[in-house]
């Protein structure tokens, strides 16, 4: 019991199949409070299924899961008080403005001063200039930032981010990473799913690899690296990567062009 309370997320023996297709067969992992945990895996590995079960949108066939000490099956209402879900596709209201999206969520979380909460978050996510515009005019990166901002309302102790940077251009991606890193300074626990190895490497305290419905490795980056034989030192000429070239041309830190004019490159995957 004490172990379970110390963990923000506790998952044991989770199984799920859709009709006859088995997606998860026995997933176990724990996430410590205030840490970033990355669930890494290719498309179709079952990452989203895990997130949907943990956010009480889907029932598991077998196994137990608890979030913030609450069981997802027997105490779903308490789980929903403790979490925020940022789904795979930015779940924002296109017809409303950015500010209206934020006040909507603040009202639904029954908070006082929704207007002030919205203004603070707009500021924090550099969306103040776009606050009064309909979200349908936002770029992919702005939409994602708004999406994450909506998840922070009410300071839920646990946040699920399902593939937060899929379909974003490099600059928007760095902005989102920055936002995620800031979360943990407030003590928030983050469960992140991603198919990008570098994203897990950049952000996560612990990384679990989900493959064919099972966790096959779970550890810190250093621990995972030790699974391979020690590195041999060789000399390789340092070539500029395309990313280095991109940032050299566009601007050094990606901030300058990150707000309004990433329209063209922000692909909206579906």
């Amino acid at each position: 019991m004490t172990v379970q309370q110390a963990q923000a997320i506790h998952v044991q023996g989770l199984e799920k199949s859709y009709k006859k297709v088995s997606v998860l067969h026995g997933v176990d992992f724990d996430v410590a409070r205030g840490s970033i945990f990355a669930l890494l895996g290719p498309n179709g590995a079952g990452k989203t299924t895990v997130v949907r079960i943990l956010s009480t949108l889907l029932k598991a066939d077998a196994g137990t899961a608890s979030v913030d000490g609450f069981d997802v099956v027997t105490q779903p209402a308490s789980v929903r008080e403790s979490i925020s879900l940022t789904g795979q596709f930015a779940a924002v209201d296109e017809v409303l403005t950015g500010r209206e999206n934020l006040t909507l969520v603040a009202r639904l979380r029954h908070l006082k001063y929704p207007g002030k909460i919205a203004d603070d978050l707009l500021e924090r996510f550099s969306l103040t200039d776009a606050a009064g515009r309909k979200v349908s005019t936002y770029s992919g990166g702005m939409r994602r930032r708004l999406d994450i901002a909506m998840s922070l309302i009410g300071n839920p102790p646990v946040i699920f981010l399902d593939e937060p940077t899929t379909g974003l251009d490099p600059q928007a991606r760095i902005d989102v990473w920055q936002a995620i890193r800031e979360l943990t300074t407030h003590g928030t626990t983050v469960l992140l799913t991603t198919q990008y190895l570098d994203e897990a490497e950049q952000l996560a305290d612990r990384i679990a690899i989900l493959h064919q419905g099972r966790i096959i490795v779970n550890g810190t980056l250093a621990e995972l690296k030790q699974l391979l034989p020690p590195a041999k030192v060789t000399y390789v000429e340092k070539q500029a990567t395309l990313e280095d070239v991109f940032f050299a041309i566009v601007g050094d830190d990606g901030k300058s062009a990150g707000t309004a004019d990433d329209h063209s490159t922000a692909a909206h995957t579906s």
């Binding site: 209402a77 925020s84 779940a91 924002v92 909507l104 639904l108």
Partner: protein, 253 residues
């Protein structure tokens, strides 16, 4: 949990009403077809139709109002479909809200949007010569029947709204409902129809509802049609509600 139901529904209702206010074309396109039918039947076909005494527009209006509602609820299904597909439905369901308020907000939005459309069509009919001496009580009764009819069709619309795979699939179910009034007493008295068609027309929901509203407008005592009309509306409402809830629980754990 339920202590938030009213508050959450109000917040979400405000959201959907804002959607409608920002795209009033959904109200306009809802009323275009019924108004076109009204013009066509009053000024083109109406002269050849023997409907009894009084202006044909007055005879026609009750059926046209039902067509207005039937075409309006396709937007109810469409709006719900957009929320499902966009992921915002799941966002709401993962939040500490009264979960049923998400559906109820859509239902109430449908009611408001359809009442606005119905009011627009009634105004056009007035301009075309529709007259009724009905008192406040009769008008209230008409409004009550139309609200019940809207609620019944709205819960019907929730089913494709939740389960459709494409926007066309979400709204296509309303077409048969739109054309149901044509095989009823809405446009012509059923007496001239061949026996099998007449049997269908006399016993389908639209005829009893149209006859009841027509009697109320004409200040005639309503016949037993009103009980048939209420039974149809309540029956459709209960069955559609049950299927909509079942569909919802299949979608959300």
């Amino acid at each position: 949990m339920n202590k938030h139901f009213l508050g959450d529904t109000t917040v979400l209702l405000g959201r959907s009403l804002r959607h409608i206010a920002r795209s009033p074309d959904t109200i306009i396109t809802t009323t275009v077809m019924p108004i076109a039918f009204l013009l066509l039947f009053v000024y083109v076909f109406g002269g050849a139709i023997k409907h009894g005494s009084g202006a044909y527009v007055t005879y026609l209006l009750p059926g046209i109002l039902l067509i207005t509602i039937a075409s309006g609820i396709s937007y109810t299904a469409f709006r719900l479909y957009l929320d499902m597909r966009g992921g915002i439905f799941e966002r709401f369901q993962s939040m500490p809200i009264a979960r049923s308020s998400v559906l109820w907000a859509h239902v109430l939005t449908s009611l408001v949007a359809n009442l606005v459309s119905v009011a627009v069509v009634v105004l056009i009919a007035l301009a075309m010569g529709f007259r009724s001496d009905a008192g406040a009580l009769a008008w209230l009764a008409v409004a009550g029947i139309l609200i019940l009819f809207t609620l019944a069709l709205t819960w019907l619309a929730v089913i494709p709204g939740l389960s459709a795979k494409s926007p066309d699939g979400a709204s296509a179910f309303s077409y048969p409902v739109i054309f149901l009034p044509f095989v009823s007493s809405a446009f012509v008295p059923t007496g001239t129809m061949p026996a099998p068609v007449r049997a269908f027309a006399d016993n389908q929901p639209v005829t009893s509802i149209v006859n009841t509203i027509r009697d109320l407008f004409a200040q005639q005592p309503v016949s037993s049609d009103i009980w048939t009309a209420l039974a149809w509306c309540l029956g459709i409402l209960i069955v559609a509600y049950a299927f909509a809830q079942a569909t919802y629980h299949r979608k959300v754990a």
